[in-house]
Amino acid sequence: MTALILLSALGVIALLAEIFSFKKLLYPVVILGLITTFVLNLVDWNTDKLWYGMMRYDNFAVAFSSVLIGITTLWFIMAENFFKEESSLTDHFALILFALVGGIVMVSYTNMTMLFLGIEILSIPMYVLAASKKEDVSSNEAGFKYLILGAFSTGFLLFGIALIYGSTASFDLPVIADFITSHNGAVPGMFYIGILLILVAMVFKVSAVPFHFWAPDVYQGAPTSVTAFMATIVKTAAFAAFLRLFASTFAGAGSVWIDVLWVIAALTLLVGNITAVVQTSTKRMLAYSSIAHAGYMLLALIALNSFTQSSVLFYSLAYSIGSIASFGVLGIVATSRGNDTTDAFNGLAKTNPLLAVAMTVALLSLAGIPPTAGFFAKYYIFTAAFASGYGWLVLIAILASLIGVYYYFRIIIAMFFKESTEAAIEVTANHKLLFILTIVLTIALGLFPDFIIRLL
C-alpha cells in the first residue's frame, strides 16, 4: 500500500514538473523515488493487511510489486534515451509511473472491481506510449491496434465479471471462493461461462496463443523502450493478476478451465517458438519469444500446487531481467546500425564486448542454459508441472526450449562469429552500469535462487 501511495505521488510530481519546469532534474528524482519506494515497499512484508475489502497487501502482493518496481527501475536506466527524444514530454514519466500504479493494483486486488481498475490503469498509459512516436506510422498503428484489441478484451473481462456477479452477487474474491466450495461442483452454468470469459481476457493480456495476434505488431511498432516495458512489467503484472484469480479463487473450479488452459499453454509454447524462428526482425523475434515465455509460465498455473506462485515469481523475475538486457542491447544496436535484423549484430563481440557479453548472458538466460537465472526458472516450472503429473507437457516444453535455442543462438553466432566493418558503438555510462547489473543479477539468481523461491 505504501508503494501505491508513493508511486501515485511520484506520478503527480512528474506531471507537475512540466508546470514548475524542473524537467532536467526529473530523471534522477524518479529513479531515487523508485528506489525509495522499493525499500519502503518491503516494510509491508508479513503485515498482510486488508484495505477496505478491496486490496489485500499480502506477501504475494509485496513480492510481485517489488519485482515490478525493481524491474521498472532497471527499465528507467535502460530507457534513458527514450526520455531525451523530442517527442518525449514529461508526460512519459507520468504515464510510466501510472502504468506501474496499475500494475501494483493488479497484484494486490481482492475485489473484481479493483482487478478491472488495475488493468485499465495499466493499459491506458500503454496505449498512449505505444503510439508515442507520433510521426511514425507503425508506432501509431501499434497504439491503435493495442487500443482496439485491448478494449475488446476488456469487454470480455467485464462480461465475465458480470456473469460471476450474477451468480454470486458479489465482487469479493473470498465470497466467490466460498460460493464455489459451498456448491461443491454444482455451480450454475452462468458461473462457468463467466470464468471462461475472464480466462479469455487474461490470456489476451499475457498474450498467449490463440489471443496473441496483437503482440508481435504492437511490440514491433512501439518504440523499443515501450516494448521492453510491455514485455516485462505489463506481462509480470498480468501474470500476477492471473494467478491471484485463478490459482486461488477459481482453483476450486479448476476442472472447468485447466483443460482449456493446457491446450492454450501447449499451443503457446509451440506456436510462439516456431514462429520466432522465421522472423527476420530481432524485435519481432523477441516479441514471439515473449509469447513463448508466457507458455512456460502457464505451465506453473496449470500445475496448481505449492510451487505455482513461487515459480511464476521466479520465472517472471528471470525473464524480465533477460528481456530488459536484450531489448536494451537491441535498442542501442538498432539505433546505431540502422536496422534490427540479425546482421545488425555482426561482429559486436569485437567492437563492443560488454554489449555482446550482456546480450549473450541474457539470451542464454532466456534459452534456459545453466548457470543463468533462466535455467533455474525453467527447471522450477518443470518441477511444478511434474509434481502435478503433467510430464508430457514438460516434454512439449523441452521441445519448445530446443527450438528457442535456435533463434537465440542465431544472434550469439552473429555477434561472435560474423565479421563486420561497423565502428564501435558509443555506450553511455548508465547503460554500462545497467548491463553489468543484469549480467551479475542473471548469474547470481541462477546460482542462488533459494532466497527468491522461499518468499512465497
Binding site: 548457470p371 535455467f375 527447471y379 530446443l402 543462438f409 562469429f417 535462487p449 523461491i453
Partner: protein
C-alpha cells in the same frame, strides 16, 4: 576439501587469466593446469583403496528444493579426474606454437571447461551434476565457434542442439526421479532408492531419458551424426577436449547414474542398447576405412571405440565395467596423441588427405617411431594400454552374449585395418610433392609425444596402479547392480 580445490582451482585460474594479455598467457595456463595435476596427484596419494566415497563435501545449496552442493570421489571418479587433470596440460602444451587470435579467451575457456568437467565427475547430487554437465557445453561451444574451421557456425550449432536435447531429457528424468523419491532431495542415494523402487516399466522411462543424454554425448550409433563434423571442424585442442575428456562424461554418466538408478530398466533394454552400440562399432569402423581425411578417420574410429565401451558397461559385469574404466583412460590418451599427430601433419604439409602423403618415415624416423607407438596403442596391441581395456570389454560382452562379442571383436580387426593402412599411406613409400619438405620436430612436440608414448607403454605393461584405484568401487557397483536385477 581437496575436491573443492580440484573443482574451483581451474575456474579461479580461468578468471585470473582474463587479466593477462599477450603470448605469456599460454605459459600461465600451462602452469595452472600442471598445478591442478599436482593437486590431483595429492588426492591419489591420500586416497584409501576401498569402495568408499572419499573427500566428501556436502553443503545445502537450494535448501527448499533439497538441492545440495554434494561432491566427493570414489575410485571411479578419481580415475576420471586424474584423466582430466593429466590431459588438460598436455592439450595446452600441444598448442604452444599455435597463434590463435585472442589467446586469453581461448585458454580461459579451456580452463573453464576443465572446471565443469571435474565438477561432472565429482558431483553426488543430481541437480549439481546436471548443472556441471550443461556448463561444460558452453566453453566448448565457444571454442569450436570462435576458433573452428570451415562452416563451423552450422556444425557447432548442430552439436549444441543435439547435446542439449539429450541433456534436457536427462533433466526430465532427474525431475521424475526426484518427484518419486521419498525424501524429495536430489542426493544421489535418495535418487538411487527412488529409481530402484520403480517397476520395470518406469525404470524403462528413466533409462531412456538418461540414456539418450549419455548416448548422444558419447556418441552411440545412431545418435552420432553430430560427431564427425564437429571433431573435424573444431580446432585441434577443442577436438582433443571433446574426444579425450568430454565423451567420457557420457560413459561416466552411464556408470555412475544409469546403472544404479534404473537397474531393471538397464537389464530390460540392454540388449537393444548393446546391439545399437555393436552396430555402431562395425558401421563406423567400415566408414573409417574409406575416409581420406585423417582427422575424420580418427573421429569415426573414436565412435567405434566408445561403442565398445558402452557395450561393455551395459553388459553389467565386472570385466565390462572395469574394462570401460581402463579403456576410457587409454582412449583419452591415445586419441589426444592421434589428433596431435594430425595437427602436426596438417601444419607441416597443409593437408589432412591421407592419400596425398607418403614417405615421411624416410624424412623423420623419430616421428615415425612415436607415431607408430601411439597407433599401436590405438589398435590395442598387447603391451600397449589399449589392449587391456579392449580385452576386458570384449570379455565382458562375451559373458553377456557370445554373438554380440563376436561382432564387437571386429573392432580390433577393422581398427588394425584402417589405422595400419593410413600409417602405410602416410609414413611409408616414397616422398612426393606434398611431403617433399618435412620440418623436424620441435621441442614441445617431442615432449607431448614422449609423454603420451610413455603413458601408452607404462600402462600397457603395468596397469595395476590404475586398475587398483577403481576396482573396489567397480565391484561394489556391479554387485549392487546384480543384486537389484536378481542375478
Amino acid at each position: 576439501m581437496i575436491t573443492l580445490l580440484l573443482i574451483f582451482f581451474p575456474l579461479v585460474a580461468a578468471l585470473l587469466l582474463l587479466m593477462v594479455k599477450g603470448e605469456q598467457v599460454k605459459k600461465i595456463a600451462l602452469g595452472a593446469a600442471v598445478v591442478e595435476f599436482i593437486i590431483s596427484i595429492a588426492a591419489v596419494a591420500q586416497f584409501r583403496h576401498n569402495a568408499d566415497t572419499q573427500f566428501v563435501f556436502n553443503m545445502p545449496w537450494i535448501k527448499s528444493l533439497g538441492i545440495s552442493f554434494h561432491v566427493g570421489m570414489d575410485g571411479i571418479s578419481l580415475l576420471l579426474v586424474l584423466l582430466t587433470t593429466f590431459l588438460v596440460p598436455v592439450i595446452i602444451l600441444t598448442s604452444f606454437r599455435k597463434a590463435y587470435k585472442n589467446p586469453t579467451a581461448f585458454y580461459s575457456l579451456i580452463l573453464a571447461m576443465q572446471f565443469a568437467l571435474i565438477g561432472v565427475f565429482v558431483s553426488l547430487d543430481g541437480f549439481l551434476f546436471y548443472v556441471f554437465w550443461e556448463l561444460a557445453l558452453i566453453p566448448i561451444y565457444f571454442i569450436c565457434l570462435l576458433w573452428g574451421g570451415e562452416d563451423r557456425a552450422r556444425i557447432t550449432f548442430k552439436f549444441f542442439v543435439y547435446t542439449l536435447a539429450g541433456s534436457l531429457l536427462m533433466l526430465a528424468g532427474l525431475i521424475y526421479l526426484y518427484q518419486n523419491s521419498a525424501a524429495h532431495t536430489f542426493d544421489i542415494a535418495n535418487l538411487y532408492a527412488a529409481g530402484q523402487n520403480m517397476d520395470v516399466l518406469h525404470q524403462g522411462y528413466v533409462f531412456w531419458a538418461m540414456f539418450m543424454a549419455f548416448a548422444i554425448k558419447m556418441p552411440v550409433f545412431p545418435f552420432h551424426t553430430w560427431q564427425p563434423d564437429t571433431y573435424t571442424t573444431a580446432p585441434t585442442q577443442g577436438t582433443m577436449m571433446l574426444s579425450g575428456i568430454m565423451l567420457k562424461m557420457g560413459v561416466y554418466g552411464v556408470i555412475r547414474w544409469l546403472l544404479p538408478l534404473a537397474p531393471l530398466g538397464v537389464e530390460h533394454w540392454a540388449h537393444l542398447a548393446i546391439t545399437l552400440a555393436v552396430i555402431g562399432i562395425v558401421y563406423t569402423s567400415c566408414i573409417a576405412i574409406v575416409q581420406k581425411d585423417f582427422k575424420r578417420l580418427i573421429a569415426y574410429s573414436s565412435i567405434a571405440h566408445v561403442g565398445l565401451i558402452a557395450a561393455g558397461i551395459l553388459a553389467g559385469n565386472v570385466q565390462g565395467v572395469q574394462g570401460a574404466m581402463i579403456q576410457m583412460i587409454s582412449h583419452g590418451v591415445n586419441v589426444v596423441g592421434l589428433f596431435f599427430i594430425v595437427d602436426m601433419l596438417q601444419s607441416r604439409l597443409g593437408t589432412r588427405d591421407i592419400s596425398s602423403m607418403g614417405g615421411i618415415r624416410n624424412l623423420n624416423p623419430q616421428f615415425a617411431v612415436l607415431f607408430l607407438i601411439v597407433l599401436l596403442g590405438s589398435v590395442a596391441l598387447p603391451l600397449t594400454n589399449g589392449f587391456i581395456g579392449e580385452f576386458l570389454l570384449i570379455n565382458g560382452v562375451y559373458q553377456y552374449n557370445a554373438w554380440l562379442a563376436a561382432f564387437a571383436g571386429l573392432t580390433v580387426i577393422l581398427g588394425a585395418v584402417y589405422m595400419l593402412r593410413s600409417y602405410q599411406s602416410i609414413m611409408l613409400g616414397e616422398t612426393n610433392a606434398v611431403t617433399a619438405v618435412f620440418p623436424p620436430l620441435e621441442g614441445y612436440e617431442k615432449a607431448v609425444l614422449v609423454i603420451i608414448c610413455a603413458a601408452i607403454i607404462v600402462f600397457g605393461v603395468y596397469p595395476k596402479p590404475l586398475l587398483d584405484i577403481a576396482e573396489p568401487s567397480v565391484i561394489k557397483l556391479v554387485d549392487s547392480f546384480r543384486a537389484a536385477t536378481g542375478k
